[in-house]
Chain length 233, copies 2
C-alpha cells in the first residue's frame, strides 16, 4: 500500500519549513490554497494540518490562520525542561558555566545519532536556580549538522533556539529515560555538593522535524529544591 495522500501534504510542508520557504512564525497558505496547489481534496489538506498541529510543527490561531511554530528562547527552554519548584511552578534555570569541544564520536553515540557521525561536538553546561546549583548537562551533536558550533562564542541558554535559527534544525520531540545515581566526585565538586549526593539522570534522544536523532543529552538534576514533573493521562 502506498503512503496515505495526506502524508504528501504533511511532507511537503515539513520540507518547505526545513528549506526555509516557510519561515518559523510565518503564516502557512490556507488549507484551500494548499489543497489546490497539491491537487488533493481540502479534507486531505485538513488532515495533514491536524497532524502537523498535533506534532507541534504548526499552530492554528482561531480566525487568523495556521502558523509555523516559532521556538523563542522562552518557550523553547521550557518545552523540554520539566523541573518544577516546590510550589509546582516551572523552574527557569540560569546558565553558569559552559565548555564545548570537538571530538571523535564514541561507538554508542555514532550508533544512536543521525548519519553515524565520526565527529561530534560535546557541550557541557552547569545550571543553577535562584543562585543554587541545579544540574549538569552534557549535549552531544553531530559535527556535520552544526558546522562552526564551537566558534560561535557563548551559546544561548536554550540550545534548540540556536539549532533552529542558525541551522534550520527544528527539534520537535524527545524521549528521556530516567535513572537514579549518586554524583561522581568530579561532578559533586563542580556542583558544590557532598560526595554521594543522589541525582536524577535523564538520558535524552532529541529528534528534529525529519525524525532524525540530532542530539544525545545527559542531564543530572539535583532535586533538593525541585522535582521532575510528569503528567500521566
Amino acid at each position: 500500500m502506498s503512503e496515505p495522500l495526506y502524508m504528501k501534504v504533511f511532507n511537503t510542508v515539513v520540507q518547505r519549513i526545513v528549506e526555509g520557504s516557510y519561515v518559523p512564525g510565518s503564516m502557512l497558505p490556507s488549507e484551500f490554497d494548499l489543497a489546490g496547489e497539491l491537487e488533493v481534496s481540502q479534507g486531505t489538506a485538513r488532515k495533514a494540518f491536524i497532524e502537523l498541529e498535533q506534532m507541534g510543527i504548526v499552530q492554528r490561531r482561531q480566525g487568523k490562520g495556521t502558523f509555523v511554530t516559532l521556538r523563542t528562547p522562552e518557550n523553547s527552554l521550557f518545552h523540554f525542561f520539566r523541573l518544577r519548584d516546590q510550589d509546582g511552578q516551572q523552574v527557569a534555570p540560569e546558565l553558569k558555566q559552559e565548555s564545548i569541544v570537538l571530538r571523535n564520536a564514541l561507538k554508542d553515540e555514532k550508533a544512536a545519532l543521525f548519519d553515524t557521525p565520526d565527529k561530534v561536538y560535546e557541550i557541557n553546561r552547569l545550571r543553577s536556580f535562584k543562585g543554587a546549583p541545579l544540574c549538569h548537562e552534557r549535549s552531544v551533536v553531530p559535527a556535520n549538522l552544526f558546522p562552526g558550533l564551537k566558534d560561535r562564542g557563548d551559546l544561548p541558554n536554550a540550545l534548540y533556539v540556536l539549532f533552529q535559527h542558525a541551522y534550520s534544525c527544528i527539534i520537535i520531540s524527545a524521549q528521556e529515560h530516567l535513572v537514579a545515581e549518586t554524583l561522581s566526585d568530579d561532578l559533586a565538586q563542580a556542583l558544590d555538593q557532598p560526595k554521594g549526593t543522589p541525582v536524577i539522570v535523564a538520558r535524552r534522544q532529541a529528534r528534529d522535524l525529519q525524525d532524525r536523532v540530532v542530539e544525545l543529552r545527559t542531564s543530572r538534576y539535583l532535586t533538593g529544591a525541585t522535582s521532575y514533573f510528569v503528567d500521566l493521562k
Copy 2:
C-alpha cells in the same frame, strides 16, 4: 457565562458511568440518540464524545460504536507504570509482599485527598522484576471511599482495577513529581540493597473521573535494570 452545552452531555455520561448505568466495557448510546435524549445538537454530542475519548473515559471503535473504557488488569497496570527495561520494553512487575493498615490521616494527606478524610488505608507493597527487587510502593487512600478494603484478603496486582470494579472509582489521570533519594536503612533491607542505594522517588496524586484526588502514592524505584520513560512532545 454558563457552562458550555457539550459539558452537559459530558457530565451526564460521567455521572452514568459512576452510578453504574453505563458499565465499563459496554457500548454507549450513539451520538444521535444521546443528542435526542438530552435535547442538544448532534454536533454538541460529538464534541462531548471527543472530549470523553481524549480523557480516556471512552474509546471509539471504527464502525462499531463508542465504549466505556474498561480497565483490565493488563492495561491498567501499565497505564500509569512507566518503567522500561534495557531493551525499552514495558516492565511487568510482580507483587512480592503487601500489607494494609487503617490509620489516622497525616495533616498533608488530609489536605491533599478528596473530602479531607480523618481515616486512610495505607497499603505497602514490594515489587520485583524477573526475580530481582524493583520497587516499594506506598498508597494512601481515604477509608470512606473504599469501605472494607482491609478485609478483602490479598489485593490484586493492579489496585486501580479493584477500585473500578468494587468501588466504581475510575482513575483517569495522575501527576507525578520525581526526585532522587538514597534508600533508608529499613527500605534498603526490605529491597535487599546496599545502604545508600540511589532511587527515583515518584510522588503521585491520582484523580478519578470526577477529578477528585483519591490516592497519594509514593513509589521508590531501583533503576539498575530499568528506567522511568518519558516521551516529551
